[in-house]
C-alpha cells in the first residue's frame, strides 16, 4: 500500500534515475519539498541541478522547459496549480503545442508538465478551478488525468517517452488516497473500464472518478448496474472505448468537474451524438460544476461541485427514460 502522492514521487524518482536528461523544476520543488510534498526528499537525493527550484516566474520557467526540451533535455516542469498555469498559458499554447507544426515537423517538444487541479478544499476561486478541459482543447498536447495510485505511478514514464508535450493533471484531493501501485505498466492512449456494468455508462476522470464509483455502488444497491469508464486521457480522447461502453449500456452520464458550457463533457456529448446516436436510449446526462467561480464557504462549494447524489439521480433519470 502507498498513496497517490508517494506513487507520483516514486515515478519521478525512477525517471531521474533512469535518464540523465530528466530533471524536475518548479516553484518550491526542492528546498520546500513541493507545495503538495510530492517531491519531498528528492533534492537531497538528486541535488539542485536536477531538482531545481525556480522563482515565481511561471511563464519563464515553463518556457525554459520548452526550450530545454528542444535542446535535448527531458524536463518535468511542475506548476503549483492549474490556476497559476494561466501565467504560462502563452508558452504552453503558442510554443509547446505549436512549434512542431509551425516548423513543419522539424522541432519537437518532449516536455512533461505536471500540475494540480480541482476544488473541494475550501480554497476559494483562485485556487480551485478545473481547467484541464481547456488544455484538452489544444491540438498538439496530450492531456492525462491519473485518478488511481497505479496511474500516478506508471503514467509518467510513457509521458516522458512521448516526443510531444504531455500535461499531467493531479487532482488536489487525491494525494492522500491510498492504493496499490502494482507493477504493471500503463499506456497513455486508452480509457479504462474501472467497473463493468450493463445499464448505464458513467464517464469520469481524475477527481470525479471516485465520485462515479461511489455512485455506481449506490446504484447497484437499487439494482442498476453502472459501468464506470475512467477517461484517463483527456486528449486525444479514446473515443472507441467511450462508444464501446455506450453501445453496451445505451445510456451515458458524464461527470466533469469543469464548467458545463464549452467543457470536456460538451465535447464527449457531441461525440456520442455523432458516433453513437443510434445506440442511445436516453439523452446524454451531464453532471458538472455550477457555472460560478468556486466559493469558499463549505456548503456553497459542495453545492457548486458535482456530487454523488447528483450522479445517482442523473443515472436513474437516464435508465428510466
Amino acid at each position: 500500500m502507498t498513496t497517490y502522492r508517494e506513487a507520483m514521487r516514486e515515478a519521478i524518482s525512477e525517471a531521474l534515475l533512469a535518464d540523465e536528461r530528466v530533471f524536475l523544476m518548479g516553484e518550491d520543488v526542492g528546498m520546500y519539498g513541493g507545495c503538495f510534498a510530492v517531491s519531498l526528499g528528492l533534492l537531497e537525493k538528486f541535488g539542485p541541478e536536477r531538482v531545481r527550484d525556480t522563482p515565481l516566474s511561471e511563464s519563464a520557467f515553463v518556457g525554459a522547459g520548452i526550450g530545454a526540451a528542444m535542446g535535448g533535455m527531458r524536463p518535468i516542469v511542475e506548476i503549483m496549480t492549474v490556476n497559476f498555469s494561466l501565467l504560462a498559458l502563452d508558452q504552453i499554447l503558442n510554443n509547446a503545442a505549436t512549434i512542431l507544426h509551425m516548423s513543419g515537423g522539424q522541432f519537437n517538444v518532449p516536455l512533461v508538465i505536471r500540475m494540480t487541479t480541482g476544488a473541494g478544499r475550501q480554497l476559494a476561486a483562485q485556487h480551485s478551478h478545473s481547467l484541464e478541459g481547456w488544455y484538452a482543447h489544444i491540438p498538439g498536447l496530450r492531456i492525462l488525468a491519473p485518478a488511481t495510485v497505479a496511474d500516478a505511478r506508471w503514467m509518467l514514464a510513457p509521458a516522458l517517452a512521448d516526443p510531444d508535450p504531455v500535461l499531467i493533471f493531479e487532482h488536489g484531493s487525491l494525494y492522500n488516497v491510498p492504493g496499490e501501485p502494482g507493477t504493471e505498466k500503463v499506456d497513455i492512449v486508452s480509457a479504462a473500464v474501472r467497473r463493468p456494468g450493463r445499464d448505464v455508462t458513467l464517464l469520469a476522470y481524475g477527481g470525479t472518478l471516485h465520485k462515479a464509483l461511489s455512485a455506481a455502488e449506490e446504484l447497484a444497491g437499487g439494482g442498476i448496474e453502472a459501468e464506470v469508464v475512467d477517461l484517463r486521457v483527456l486528449r486525444p480522447l479514446d473515443e472507441a472505448s467511450i462508444v464501446a461502453s455506450v453501445a453496451k449500456t445505451h445510456r451515458a452520464v458524464i461527470v466533469d468537474e469543469g464548467w458545463r458550457s464549452g467543457s470536456l463533457s460538451a465535447e464527449i456529448a457531441a461525440r456520442l451524438a455523432d458516433r453513437a446516436f443510434y445506440e442511445l436510449d436516453a439523452p446524454v446526462e451531464r453532471v458538472c460544476t455550477a457555472e460560478v467561480p468556486i466559493p469558499y464557504a463549505r456548503h456553497m462549494e459542495e453545492a457548486a461541485l458535482p456530487q454523488v447524489p447528483a450522479v445517482v439521480e442523473a443515472a436513474r433519470r437516464a435508465v428510466s427514460s
Binding site: L56, A124, M300
Partner: protein
Amino acid sequence: MARKSRTQPSRDRELLRQMLRIRRFEERCVELYSGEKIRGFMHLYIGEEAVAAGVCHALTPEDTVVSTYREHGHALARGVPAKTIMAEMYGRVSGTSRGRGGSMHIFDAARRFYGGNAIVGGGLPLAVGLALADKLLERPRVTACFFGEGAMAEGEFHECLNLASLWRLPVLFACENNQYAMGTALARSQAETDLALRAAAYDVAAWPVDGMDARAVADAAGKACEAVRAGAGPHFLELRTYRFRAHSMYDPDRYRDKAEIEQWKHRDPLDVIELPGPETAELEKEIAQELDEAIDFAERAPLEPVEELTRFVYSEV
C-alpha cells in the same frame, strides 16, 4: 532594537493600536483554525504588522488599497471591521465577501479595499488600472499596492512598474520583503536582491525602509504619498520585514533556521513603540473586547442560502 521615542503620542498610539489589533486578531485565528472554524488556506501576518499599520496610516479614506492573500493586517489597518473579516473566514453571508472569498479574498468597497488577491502579482495590474482611472478622472488619490518580494520575479511586476512609470500614475508600490516566498529565500530566487534598485530601473522613486518600525514605515509612506499626490508618479518602498510564522497553516517551515526566526523576534514591531503608563493595557482590553464581539458576530452570522449560489456571476441590474 530600534530606538524608542515618545514623539507624536497620538500617532504612536494609533500605530500600536493597529499592530496590536492585527496581532491579537491573528492569534485568535490560529485557535479558530485548529478548531476548524476557519478552513482553506490561511496566511498569517504576525511579525509584519508595522508595514500595514505604517502604510495605512499615510492613506486617506479616499485612497485605494490593493492587497494579497496575506491581507488580514492590511484590511484591519484600513478600517475593515474585524467582525466582518471574521465572519468571512467563517464562511458566513455576513462576511466581507458573503463567505465566497474566505481568508484570502477580503473585499470592502466602502473602505476602498480592492481585495485579497491569491495570484502572486495579480493585484499589481489592478493597482495600475485603478490609478489610471484616478488620473483620467482627475481624482487626487493614491493607490497603495501591497505585494511580497517574491512577486518581483513575476513578469507582471516588471510590466506594471514600466506602465505606471511611463504614464506617471499615482501608485504606491509597497513591497513587503519578508525574505521568503514560501520556502524560497530571496537570494536563491532573484539575481539582484537590492529591490529598490530594481524598481529604480523603471525610473520609479524607490527606497528601503525598516519594516519592523511602524514609525519609520509611516514616515516613509507619508513622504511617498505626498509626492505621489503631487503628481511625481509612482513610488516604491521596500519594507524590510519578517514573518514570525510559517507561510501558511499547511507549511512545516523546514527551510528556515530557528535561530534566524528567534533573532527577528527580538525586533518584534510591537516592542518598538512604548506608550506611557497603562495605555497599552487599556488598548489590549479594548481590542480583546472587539475580538470577542467579532467572534460572537461570526458565530451567530447566518450562512448564505444555497439557492443563491449562482448570484454575482453577472451583475444584478
